[in-house]
Symmetry: C5
Subunit: 389 residues, 5 copies
């Protein structure tokens, strides 16, 4: 028995359902039999598509079980066995036989997600990669594991989810014989698919670039609680992207330097290009991480600024009216003016009230002038300009 970490907490699961941004790795129950595959025994068998091509022709067929693939593997033509979904235990018993897979390899492929890596088994090479893409008609991103088994004349790819992939243009090219793809071997095919996966990070990053752009305005002009949540969410998701791309770079680097001759020197040149793209993705992820952490600082400052403006308003109003109210309070005292000429004689003056009002007006004007000199009112208009912008 094995657990998938995402199953334990419904809260976590909801999160993942939501946006696929919270990635934990698969792990065995402590003490579980190494090599246990986390599959339902009665799950439906996966769809398996075989594309077999050489320079002059390409055929596509749907396989009903892995054993049908056996005949193609050692022929000179390139056989791309594309498995959509993880299948069931029976599938893997057969896969193990046909492709001669170590138990450890099967575990890495089936118990998803694993950290991207490359393992060289001499006879074939295992490549674990993560594919991200923006879901059609949505601004959420989808993440799944794609595993490659690269042999001499074949490439096996296993996709976690059958619904999404970014390989359609490659299939097209094989079918139509576009470019040089049909002139090269399985290693070139593996490169092409890896390259598609890396290129798939860019549109996702672009989305984050735009979101950060929007937040840059929002955070200065109208920072709200929602802004804060958005910044935090972007930081968390970039953390996931980062965790996906760093080991991918290492994996591609291993491929380039690996001494196994399953990969030809020419394809290594192409892989170097793919490596450069991976570095560019990392560059952008790091840049966005820095930007979003800068946004948090700006947010904090904006909150402080806003408080200053609230306090200024309170202070202006209080400072003007509290003294005036005191003056009015004075003249509301009930000292008996008849008992003594010292007891508030001003109440009986002919110009008592006008003088009092004048006094109040003078105090108010003085305070207003005081605040105006210090530039407190300018600020208020600035605020207005900003919000009307």
């Amino acid at each position: 028995m094995a657990y998938k970490s995402i199953n334990t907490s419904s809260a976590v699961e909801k999160q993942i359902k939501d946006d696929d941004s919270y990635v934990d790795y698969f792990y065995d129950a402590p003490g579980a039999l190494p090599g246990t595959l986390d599959l339902e025994p009665d799950a439906a068998p996966p769809e398996i598509v075989l594309i077999d091509y050489c320079e002059t022709a390409a055929t596509r067929s749907q396989l009903t079980n892995p054993q049908e693939a056996a005949a193609y593997l050692d022929t000179a033509s390139v056989s791309w066995v594309d498995m959509l979904g993880l299948g069931n235990k029976e599938t893997w018993r057969q896969m193990g036989e046909v492709f001669n897979l170590h138990l450890m390899t099967q575990e890495d492929v089936v118990n998803v997600p694993q950290r991207p890596k490359v393992v060289d088994y001499e006879e074939h090479i295992l490549i674990i990669a993560w594919m991200v893409m923006i879901k059609p008609n949505s601004d959420k991103f989808h993440k799944e594991q794609v595993s490659f088994i690269l042999g001499k004349h074949y490439l096996l790819t296993v996709q976690e989810e059958p619904d999404y992939d970014c390989f359609a243009p490659v299939r097209d090219r094989i079918r139509k014989g576009q470019g040089i793809i049909r002139k090269h071997g399985a290693d070139y095919l593996a490169y092409t698919l890896l390259d598609s996966i890396i290129d798939g990070f860019f549109p996702v990053l672009e989305l984050y670039g735009e979101r950060i752009e929007e937040l840059e305005d929002e955070v200065v002009v109208r920072p709200t609680r929602k802004t804060l949540e958005k910044i935090y969410k972007i930081r968390r998701e970039l953390l996931t992207l980062r965790r996906a791309i760093w080991p991918q770079r290492d994996a591609i680097n291993v491929l380039i330097r690996d001494s196994n001759d399953l990969i030809s020197p020419e394809v290594r040149i192409y892989l170097r290009d793919c490596y450069d793209h991976t570095v560019q993705v990392m560059d952008m992820v790091e840049t966005y991480r820095e930007l979003s952490s800068g946004l948090m600082d700006v947010y904090l400052s904006s909150v402080g600024n806003k408080m200053n403006e609230i306090m200024k308003l309170l202070t202006v109003i209080s400072s003007i009216f509290i003294p005036l109210t005191f003056v009015a309070g004075i003249y509301g005292m009930n000292f008996n003016t008849e008992k003594s000429p010292f007891n508030m004689p001003e109440l009986n003056w002919y110009f008592g009230y006008p003088l009092c009002v004048t006094l109040m007006g003078t105090i108010a004007s003085g305070l207003v002038y005081f605040f105006w000199r210090r530039g407190w009112f300018e600020n208020f208009s600035t605020v207005k300009d900003d919000s009307e912008k």
Copy 2:
């Protein structure tokens, strides 16, 4: 004489009793005899369980003292000597003889906790590892040191605490002959146990993942002082996990690269898988650390936001009622209206009071409109929405 750091301060001890999260290393009193074992001479002898198995059979026996193990060590069958608890000095005198242990090794095994590491003594290999697990029926995590002495045909494991371990499934597998465990040697057994230990980190991490998830909501919607304490506590405990997993990775790496032929090439392949899991644990620890440090920023901002809302309320109420009170104060002045027509004639007007009330109403409406235009009231309702969510 030797001290255990956790004994000095009762506060520290309480902390450890609580949640095992505050780990200091064992240290000798400065100048103490190297090789001094920190054991009570009169402590009870530990429970020692011997599991001896080959491909066809497995026996389990309880040993009363270490010397009984001597007979099994050089036989071709694999002997797993599992010592539960650290025992007393007499135990270790015998252990030293039976297993031919260097004084330094004994110290590392007995004076817990030591930093995870691997030391190769040619004839056997010492592996120090840290095991964490969630205590049953609790959300606290338990941490203890497990030491391995891997010889040609035997494996000695010493567990700090007899009560907890995660080796039950392995014992089961040996008894039932499941998997390939009985076909391999002591090195495979050591790998299996190490793998169980690493896999034991995942459920603990998952717990932290969930706590962080909960805090993410709490920190934005209802940040209280308790939230702050929780964030700090998570950061502190992740620091402990990090201190446990980093050296463990180095240790496993040493095992993989070590030239000692006590570890067969095939088991090295398995260890590589174990290494990958360790890296995954590290990845998650680092991710959670970043998330929790992001939470602290969010908390700070939330505190500021909350203050802004408190201040807005104060400002709205003060700004509306202070001017009105001033107006009321004016008409409460006692100027003698009989002495002069200038002295508050409005008090004697026919519509004096209605006009005054109208004036007040106008002022109040004007201010309410002013605040409404600036969006201060929207915010209040936002707050309400949030808290009702």
Copy 3:
């Protein structure tokens, strides 16, 4: 088909149009044919300038198509083919033939921007560099990619934008035979141009140095919302500069260490100097980044300081007038003095009012003295001094 990341969002595009500070890398549509050039088939052909020189003479000619360059490439004289603008697909079909360019090279040169790098193709070396410069009559900076193809006797440079470059002094020197440039080969020419590009970073950095200098005053004396935006903007733009200069350093380092004999030992000495300049640029970028992040801290503190001063003003005024108003309120109560000698007899005292005013004066003076002792008024004058400075 290929996308340029800057095309997707009009917001992003506007940003770039504005100040060229938001650099994303070019990327292929996932799954696109490797080697697809992102060019309009019907774009105008680029202007191509050929400068051919040896120690004794230099000629300059305008080419109408790349094939005209073919005759010059293998002659002993140095041929600098300078392509201004990226041209169209037809141009590149011819370029590929004439200069024998790998499809991957063409992609790197045309699909801008790429990360700066050096790729050695034996027969020629590809150098990708980023050029920044301050636009004339403006304080914005312009950024474009310049690609070099360095062969035995020729240098091909491809500039993204025809309008700006910093090579005019080099052209002058070739024409006039100044310095040693006409005595050396194409490798020295490549060095000279690279050096111009690196030196072009300094004036841009100087601009940032000045801006930070100005902000240092502003942030302490008159921090406004605009200040915050400026600091954030500088941080973002320095991030871009940093992303430009780090890989450039690596690229130059590769050039120095590369074993290809297209670069002579003497030119390697010059490149080492160029490398030193690159490190100086990096030093300054990092310094400015630290300074600007320090400015953010200062800004936050200044906001807090300002609030303290606002609060002090409010507190002083409230603390003085609220108690006084209370006293006035006392004597405004309407207890019937005739019913009892205990009911506010002071209203009928001969010196009632003067005593009351004295009381108020005493309270006010006491509070003023209290605040003065605590140094609250000093602060106000400090503020004044600052703002008059």
Copy 4:
């Protein structure tokens, strides 16, 4: 002439006197003669203790001058020359002769503090280490430099301060012949002393662990200005410890790897253990540094929280009483009720006053209910619970 950095400023000196936590390195006056020893010519000669031992016997003698040691150095027995205090120039003239010390070595030993390091002079090895310990009956820590000169059959140790050291247990062991110390050479003695020094860091660190523990409570429940000072002080002192332990690790590593055969392979095994302890010390220092920097964040948040509570109190009281005072102000206006039926007829109503009081009560209850609904009062009681805890 040479300066000791601690002499220049009396403030610094006071600091050091206080808690030994502010460590600057020794430095020569710029341009001073290299090899100048910073000693008073007329200082008292140091106490020099010679412990000479072999497997069967150990003698201890007090030397009056270094030359008496000369006779012991080349004998087969191990001679430990322990110099307490730095002595005067005459001492060092003799030391230089007897132990054949390079001028640079003398400078490193005498001009304290130097950065911990190991220098191999073939004939002997110089080891500079820092010893920290808690002063008896105090919670301050003491720091001094201990220098080792390890020769074939002798070990010279020079202690900066005669009053403190942690070598007493080692002396005891030599005298009593405990353990294996008398069976080994001078290299084992050097290891034993180094190990004592490293173990001496643990009790100091433990003290910091406890202080941080205490601050964790204080910072949440009762954060005051003193708390802030304590956190800063801990951070500063941990910085010093860190500066002491990092180079010590490097130094021990050099010892282990050094090819000089003054150190036997067996002692290298012991040194590896000592190295592990050093790494444990570093681990703890880094952990405490992270914790204390987390405390600073918590402190900042607590200050904000406290302000929120103060503001809430002010807001609750102001919001309730300001409107009520306004109502009272209304009915304190002096409109002439006789002039018109519109002029405050309520003053003459039979139930005027009761109605007014009811109105006030309603307003007050409404506001109290409003604040209660928003949970403002819960918070107050929380505060109380906390402070009574």
Copy 5:
């Protein structure tokens, strides 16, 4: 033509004039001729001092032009040519000839400041170093570039500014034949001067240590706006020191490892000591940087603390007097007591006023007790204690 970055902005220049703390590197105008020296053609020739010494004698002479030095360079005696000031173009034409300097070397020496580095030209070694010193009678620090050309029997030093250097003690030692300087070659002389330069960093650092010490008090007890500026200034200046010392360490390391036999093995031992000092300087710079960044945190907290105290005062005064004023307001209402027995009968009670005053006293005492219980007054006295300290 070449620009010096400090010339462009008068603000920057003023800064530099002020305290020499704002260091930008020299850069050529983009595209300028490599090897252009930034010198006025009509500047005065520099003062050139030649000190020629061997073990038995030392002579000092003033040279009128570089060519006079030529005769000394190849003699067995050590010739130290010390050039004070950068001179003019004519000087350098001659220097180039006499010392056989590469154009690149001349540029590095003349176009100051350059990053510290070491370049080995076989026949001589170029060393660029930065010298800092505290200006006499001032607390500002002076920074200039000193360049060394180390040949077989000569050392050329070029100082940017003739007015300051720290070489006087070395000159003295040569003249008097103190120490071993006259027994060694030019390499030892170079070491001695480099060592003087490194030792010159310590007094500057000590100054910063003291300033930080002072700020530690200031920031907790009396944080003002000036404190903030001081902290920021220290951070900025430490950044400069750091930029000076890091490459210097690398340069010295290169010298130690360089295979050129211009540096004898014995001098390499001395250089190792010099390297250790450089590391100590770096240690202190990093420590001070951490401390000053900790100070910024403390400052922020102090600002928050101060606000809390201001708010407490406001809250105490408001909370006490606002309710009392309300009570007074009640009894100031003009309800007609004659119309109804319910209309404020208390105004006519015999003990009405005393009861009212008692009520007010009770409310006030209750509130004072409430605040006292929460410890608000303790805090005020704490503040007082602090400021009287």
